[in-house]
Symmetry: C5
Subunit: 355 residues, 5 copies
Amino acid sequence: MGKLKGKKRYKKLGLAPGSVIYTGDKSSKKLFIEAFDYNIEQCIDKELNNVEDIFEFKHIDTITWINLNGLNHVNEIEKIGNHFNLHPLVLEDIVSISQRPKIDEYDDYLFVVLKMLYQDENETIISEQVSFVLGKNYVLSFQEADGDVFDTVRDRIRHGKGRVRTMQADYLLYILMDAIVDHYFSIIESLGEKIEDYESRIFSGHVDKSINKDIQDLKREVLRVRRAIFPLREVISRIEKHESPLILDKTKTFYRDIYDHLIQVSENIDIYREMIWSLMDMYMTTISNRMNEVMKVLTIMASIFIPLTFIAGIYGMNFDYMPELHYKYSYFILWGVMIVLFIGMLYYFKRKKWL
Amino acid sequence: MGKLKGKKRYKKLGLAPGSVIYTGDKSSKKLFIEAFDYNIEQCIDKELNNVEDIFEFKHIDTITWINLNGLNHVNEIEKIGNHFNLHPLVLEDIVSISQRPKIDEYDDYLFVVLKMLYQDENETIISEQVSFVLGKNYVLSFQEADGDVFDTVRDRIRHGKGRVRTMQADYLLYILMDAIVDHYFSIIESLGEKIEDYESRIFSGHVDKSINKDIQDLKREVLRVRRAIFPLREVISRIEKHESPLILDKTKTFYRDIYDHLIQVSENIDIYREMIWSLMDMYMTTISNRMNEVMKVLTIMASIFIPLTFIAGIYGMNFDYMPELHYKYSYFILWGVMIVLFIGMLYYFKRKKWL
Amino acid sequence: MGKLKGKKRYKKLGLAPGSVIYTGDKSSKKLFIEAFDYNIEQCIDKELNNVEDIFEFKHIDTITWINLNGLNHVNEIEKIGNHFNLHPLVLEDIVSISQRPKIDEYDDYLFVVLKMLYQDENETIISEQVSFVLGKNYVLSFQEADGDVFDTVRDRIRHGKGRVRTMQADYLLYILMDAIVDHYFSIIESLGEKIEDYESRIFSGHVDKSINKDIQDLKREVLRVRRAIFPLREVISRIEKHESPLILDKTKTFYRDIYDHLIQVSENIDIYREMIWSLMDMYMTTISNRMNEVMKVLTIMASIFIPLTFIAGIYGMNFDYMPELHYKYSYFILWGVMIVLFIGMLYYFKRKKWL
Amino acid sequence: MGKLKGKKRYKKLGLAPGSVIYTGDKSSKKLFIEAFDYNIEQCIDKELNNVEDIFEFKHIDTITWINLNGLNHVNEIEKIGNHFNLHPLVLEDIVSISQRPKIDEYDDYLFVVLKMLYQDENETIISEQVSFVLGKNYVLSFQEADGDVFDTVRDRIRHGKGRVRTMQADYLLYILMDAIVDHYFSIIESLGEKIEDYESRIFSGHVDKSINKDIQDLKREVLRVRRAIFPLREVISRIEKHESPLILDKTKTFYRDIYDHLIQVSENIDIYREMIWSLMDMYMTTISNRMNEVMKVLTIMASIFIPLTFIAGIYGMNFDYMPELHYKYSYFILWGVMIVLFIGMLYYFKRKKWL
Amino acid sequence: MGKLKGKKRYKKLGLAPGSVIYTGDKSSKKLFIEAFDYNIEQCIDKELNNVEDIFEFKHIDTITWINLNGLNHVNEIEKIGNHFNLHPLVLEDIVSISQRPKIDEYDDYLFVVLKMLYQDENETIISEQVSFVLGKNYVLSFQEADGDVFDTVRDRIRHGKGRVRTMQADYLLYILMDAIVDHYFSIIESLGEKIEDYESRIFSGHVDKSINKDIQDLKREVLRVRRAIFPLREVISRIEKHESPLILDKTKTFYRDIYDHLIQVSENIDIYREMIWSLMDMYMTTISNRMNEVMKVLTIMASIFIPLTFIAGIYGMNFDYMPELHYKYSYFILWGVMIVLFIGMLYYFKRKKWL
Ligand SMILES: [Mg+2]
Ligand SMILES: [Mg+2]
Ligand SMILES: [Mg+2]
Ligand SMILES: [Mg+2]
Ligand SMILES: [Mg+2]
Ligand SMILES: [Mg+2]
Ligand SMILES: [Mg+2]
Ligand SMILES: [Mg+2]
Ligand SMILES: [Mg+2]
Ligand SMILES: [Mg+2]
Ligand SMILES: [Mg+2]
Ligand SMILES: [Mg+2]
Ligand SMILES: [Mg+2]
Ligand SMILES: [Mg+2]
Ligand SMILES: [Mg+2]
Ligand SMILES: [Mg+2]
Ligand SMILES: [Mg+2]
Ligand SMILES: [Mg+2]
Ligand SMILES: [Mg+2]
Ligand SMILES: [Mg+2]
Ligand SMILES: [Mg+2]
Ligand SMILES: [Mg+2]
Ligand SMILES: [Mg+2]
Ligand SMILES: [Mg+2]
Ligand SMILES: [Mg+2]
Ligand SMILES: [Mg+2]
Ligand SMILES: [Mg+2]
Ligand SMILES: [Mg+2]
Ligand SMILES: [Mg+2]
Ligand SMILES: [Mg+2]
Ligand SMILES: [Mg+2]
């Protein structure tokens, strides 16, 4: 979840603003750079070995998407930054992986940071920071490591599916962000399923005590997903209102569609948050119900046998003069009395619905 | 409740924006199209067999309502979309059945999505998405499947009841939405009754443990109805403020009336939400009260008979020299003592109000 | 509290907008109409037998207050509506008794709906809907049934007390609304007393289990009073900002005074709401305290007598060789030991503060 | 705390607006009027016996502060009102002691109502309403009864300390309000101490059951202090933005300082409010912890002696053929077995950390 | 945490506004003043012995940072105030150490107060108030005592690291505030770790009763850190919008970066706040779970041995005619019956999952 790790943060304490320091923990990752350069007629798609190979794409008229994986390669990122005239604070944010989603509007480019959420094979939610720079004719994207949700975008560019090849760079940024937001839906779905799963486990009583901790962890997870997604609404709404040739009017309709999806995701998250709070209450009543049951067993056993034991105790006394002891049928009569008492008690508890 | 279903969502992952994919689960429904074409003097009302039959209605001066049931028929919907110049994202939203209520204002038409809520024969709340396109002289409506709340509207158009035949298309959209909102009242009523029913069940103590799960489910239901209704307020208020010949000033008074009803429904929902939260607390105190009762029975039985059994135990001892054993009336005196103790105990618990 | 009743609502389902249908349950009430017509010099005050008698008052220069009791008389109300050019939706709202407080500003009149709250002889809070139409020179008021809080207003008009006879219709509307708002204070006072009463009952422990339900009902009552009062703030604030000859500037100071009172009432309601929530917690701790007490009695009794009974059991055994049985003072020594144990136990529990 | 008292409120029901009725309960207080009249050179300071003595101060150029104690003297207050041209609603508010803090801006004066909070000798928080009228060259202040927080202000005026004698009436109003707000700090401090005191009492376990009620009362007190203080922020902020010669620009810096203090007080109150809510939860866990302890004692006693008693019971049976009874060391062996069992049990409970 | 201390506050009651009174508790601290005076070419850095040595720096063109430690030296601070024309209220705020974070914009300087948070060697969070005055070419800073987070800033100025030596005074203020905000990250990290630590302690069951108080203290700590940090967002955002030569446009980008960090910190704090609330619930369920276990032990012991004791009691009775007593194998059969019962009971409890 990209939570703030102690040691990394401290590394940044005392550094000058704009210091480009990678704060993540994947420092041994290999650098990977790919470029897509296209217009309506053609599309070049290649892996670059050298940061310098990027530079040629800046001024040509075709649309270019350059994607870089490996935020630990700060030198290369600084070189790109210099070539594209990025502000030092932008470079600092790109490699600070606990940056919250935001947009910064500069004169000749937009800088967008957001969180790409997806599940790994263990259904753990992975949050990877992605930064975009949208300039005239190009989009730069920066990811912490390999693996992303953009494969269908690559496919659409390569084979000219959809309208991407006929549109400008603002539309390219849109479909990249759309791919990320589409994945949020599967994240919240899996959160929803987890909640329902916990509910039925608690309800069925098949819980061990760790449910306590599990609920707390789920709560934390929902709060963190919330924090990754909610600020993005403001980002999109700023893009929609942005006034510059970087964002064309006809593309704004598409951004409005992302905004719409984000609202939907947000509403779901807030419902989940509310549901989780009541899980704990639900668990508490379950515990109390179980204690009630334990108490009933004890009470029934004790209430039935303690009086009977008392009666037996009476006739175990050693007084010289206890007339009942000498009647022939005393013993059997007593058994009769005790059985009647026993059945009476059972009937009483039955009526009280304790049995 | 039209909640996000895992498989369907995933189907959409990676698709280009504007892909018209039906996300519901009623894929075998037959297509049904009906058209009402009227002015103050006459009204034509027919079922259409062909999507192409719709097209003639677009440019004539009479008001036309075209209603389509069967969102699985995406090809036909795309044909309509092309003919009426609808934006691809509009078509995508029409067939995405988990779309949240919203309005999109395009140059020559308004697009409105909302949720039609009604109860089926088992009193389950059904949420069906309805989309409207309001153009000059026409209203298009799209429903997932047959069955709706518009029968009285059809009747009023056919027989010229009320003022619908004297008004424009904006008024037609109004009475359709009004019919939907009027049904929200019966939904929240039934939610209110459910809450009161749970309250009295919990209060009377006639609850099995499933009440726990029932409350949680009710909470979820209220939250979902809330999510279906609340965004509609913004939609209506946008219509009221809309500046174009599509919405006439004199019709805005009517939309304000819907807005007013929505606020009323919303306030009710928020009261219900608050009431449900305290149901759980109420249940918890009920459980505790019941445990108190169980404990009292145990305590009374044990407190009365344990001391008496002790006394009996004393005179069951086998010491050679125990003077009381040999007095003639010892046994009877002891019975007296025990009866006095017994009554004293009962009196004590009576005074403590435990009996 | 005028809550939504199932059958009435359904009656309205499917009706054309502007249908004037009474939704209350007092359909057998007699119609009562009274008129006050006054200026600074004179005051006519009479009961009218005929709706048509109202019409003459519309155009004369004196100020007129027409009050109608009996919303079931929809025909008469429609006649008035036609004569005063009221919008059909206004008429619909007048007779829809679960309308939320609101103001609608029309070209030549203002329409205000609000709730008159008062307590009947059983201290039940009654909510009656009152509608006002403020036109040039006249105020119309519509009530569901006889009985209101306006008697002092009638008195002031008749006898020229205060400044009402020297002012315009906007001031008349003001003193009518002021009379209603003044009554809100006694309503919230009685809610406050109820809460304090519950608190002391719970605290003193003199509660039966119905307190549970009582708290829930009180919560519901506070939420409903809240809903009746809160929207009125917006209504008054809209009057204050209203720009037309209907509301004179010098009268706005007076409306600001009502606004001020409403804020005060609202703050009280929100404090009550918060207090009620903690009543439940308070009750829960009370139950737990009581269970603690029950458990202590049980534990003390059991802890004292179970070990003593064990000792008695030992000397009730029938072993051939048990030396203690044959010593002369064994029995008395044993009694001593048991008494010491008994006192020791008592002392132990005393020190633990359980006694 | 100046809470709404039943009888007083009802007294006002049905009265014309602007009726000057004292709503407090100190109706036998003597009237006290004092006047300070000063400029940079001199200062007159006298007690007035007659309301009419005030009038001379209105038009002279020196700054005048007139303070009146005794809101029950409504006639005198009305005389002042007439002389200074105060609106009837202002006079009504001055003597309505449950008025919420507010500012009313009239053409030639400002009217401010607020709450003076201080603690009496029993540390009870007293809330007294104070009203101010700020005109050109004068400030009027109205208090319910004798005793206030203005002594240091009087001192500063008399002896020309600070800058008050060099400034206008707006600065005089400022230092009066500043004195009131400064006292809020000691109120919230004492609330904070109460909360910490309750916390340690609950934590240490030295609580009787009344803690329940105490917490509820504290909650109510905090909510009421909150209600007395929070609206004042809006009042000050309105003074800061007020545009008229009544408030000079250079004085606004000082009002901003009060605002700043109010925000600080408000933040503290909201923290206290949150802390109080968790006191109840803390108390609840304390009760449960105590019950746990009680249960452990019972369980240990019962679990140890019930099995031992059973064994003793076995050898108290009267079967003709029970071989153990006749072995010479049976009795001693049995003792050994029972002691081993006893120690085993103790060890078991020790290991479970119940001892 | 700089919480309001009773005695200090009272000291200020009744003082004239602008009275420069130190409200902290470090009144014996030595005065320490240091000055940095630099431009792109050179940097003077010296400790000053005399307040008067500061004055020369005011009008020269180089950028000057003067830092003063020791708020108890009010006379010296007043001298500085007079020389730099600071408003009396500014001086009052500088030495009032419980001032909330704020900005005051004066004509020729900005005054900023905020809280420097850091942990001492015991991991206690220390909050020290720092005030800044930003004028043309100079920044003044005031601290309560020695020790701060500015060492890296001093280093950067001395050795010309980063861009500080090439920028104006607004950038100097920025890097000082940035150093403070950077430290907030380590504070919230340590809060986060504390919460997780409490969670695992509660979950593992290794809690003594003081956890109760610990949670309450942690809650208070989070609320206080919140109060120290949240108002700073408004401060920064006011700097960003400030229009005067004091803040250059190119520096605003840097302030936006601080703002961004503050939002991130704030979000974390609010998540922690929510997590802490559920700690208490988690603890409560843990207690209840433990009570359940205690009850189970008791119930199992009692349910098994009470019936067996009853049976033994039966055959301890002294009736003359009890046939079973005289059969040869009665005793052994009885043992068999009791062992079967015993095992049956164990099996029953096993199946109920109580064992
Ligand atoms: Mg994150
Ligand atoms: Mg830094
Ligand atoms: Mg940054
Ligand atoms: Mg990646
Ligand atoms: Mg999408
Ligand atoms: Mg809870
Ligand atoms: Mg709870
Ligand atoms: Mg939905
Ligand atoms: Mg997509
Ligand atoms: Mg869409
Ligand atoms: Mg349908
Ligand atoms: Mg309707
Ligand atoms: Mg609760
Ligand atoms: Mg209708
Ligand atoms: Mg209506
Ligand atoms: Mg209605
Ligand atoms: Mg009436
Ligand atoms: Mg009033
Ligand atoms: Mg109502
Ligand atoms: Mg009145
Ligand atoms: Mg008033
Ligand atoms: Mg008050
Ligand atoms: Mg006083
Ligand atoms: Mg002050
Ligand atoms: Mg609670
Ligand atoms: Mg502080
Ligand atoms: Mg002061
Ligand atoms: Mg200050
Ligand atoms: Mg320091
Ligand atoms: Mg920083
Ligand atoms: Mg709680």
